[in-house]
């Protein structure tokens, strides 16, 4: 995951910053509790595709 890109990327739900989870290959937002998947190297920045973090 490109650092510079991560720098300007926000959660579509909360507008909060995202963190890259290398193990799960997801982008996490602590504010909204959502994880956005990265499929075939493409981050899916859609609320309906996000996973709710337990």
């Amino acid at each position: 995951m490109n650092e510079e890109l991560l720098d300007v990327l926000v959660c579509p739900k909360s507008g909060g910053k995202l963190e890259y989870d290398k193990i799960k290959n997801e982008l996490l937002c602590k504010e909204s509790g959502l994880a956005y998947p990265i499929k075939d190297g493409v981050p899916i920045m859609l609320i309906e595709s996000a996973r709710v973090i337990e």
Binding site: V8, D40, V42, I44
Partner: protein
């Protein structure tokens, strides 16, 4: 056309898109990128990146982020990035009407054949302005109808209606109607592609005077 039908429509064409419709759009992409005069430090957002066919026209160092709503097109774009080792090019799946970037993130924001396809062009243009830096550049490549268009172009517009329906475009879209709410500070309008059917609108991201 809603997002689902757009995704479906582009899933249908993604396999042969580069060799067919892609060819029609290529001269417009090439001209646009040369007009943009990107520097090494520029950060660019391209909305409607599709299979990433425009990436080869940008300087290697220019950081370009491409977004699209079609997973099938993006999969091809990512393959393209890996194959040609394009280190400064990225793709993300995102809705142009809801950009998930901070305000003022990009020097240049491009809407590549998307204004006529998106459900709410007003939301799209507002998002483009928001993520573009103040006094940054906004470019739209699109088919708009102008009062000054030739009779031939007006006939062509009608003739291409079945094609535009197939790909989900608005065939008739007066620029004056669009800019009534877009309020773009337009710098130039250049006609491109076959029969000059499409136009490149260049605007500065500042209030129109």
């Amino acid at each position: 056309m809603d997002d689902k039908s757009i995704i479906k429509s582009y899933k249908r064409v993604s396999g042969f898109y580069d060799y067919t419709f892609g060819q029609i759009f290529r001269p417009g992409q090439k001209k646009l990128v040369s007009m943009m005069e990107c520097s090494k430090t520029d950060r660019v957002l391209e909305i409607g990146i599709g299979t990433g066919t425009s990436y080869k026209y940008y300087p290697e160092e220019t950081k370009v982020t491409g977004i699209d709503i079609s997973p099938d097109m993006l999969k091809k774009a990512k393959k393209n990035i890996i194959k040609h080792d394009l280190k400064n090019k990225n793709v993300l799946m995102m809705n142009g009407e809801q950009l998930t970037f901070e305000d003022n993130s990009f020097d240049k924001v491009v809407g590549m054949y998307v204004v006529s396809v998106t459900q709410n062009p007003d939301l799209l243009i507002n998002e483009m302005k928001r993520v573009c830096k103040p006094n940054g550049d906004i470019y739209l490549v699109n088919h708009f109808s102008f009062e000054t268009d030739s009779k031939f172009l007006k006939i062509l517009e009608k003739g291409l209606m079945p094609v535009s329906k197939y790909l989900g475009w608005r065939p008739y879209f007066p620029f004056s109607e669009f800019n009534a709410y877009a309020k773009l500070n337009v710098q130039s309008i250049s006609k491109v592609n076959i029969f000059d059917y499409w136009g490149i609108i260049h605007a500065i991201n500042s209030p129109a005077s």
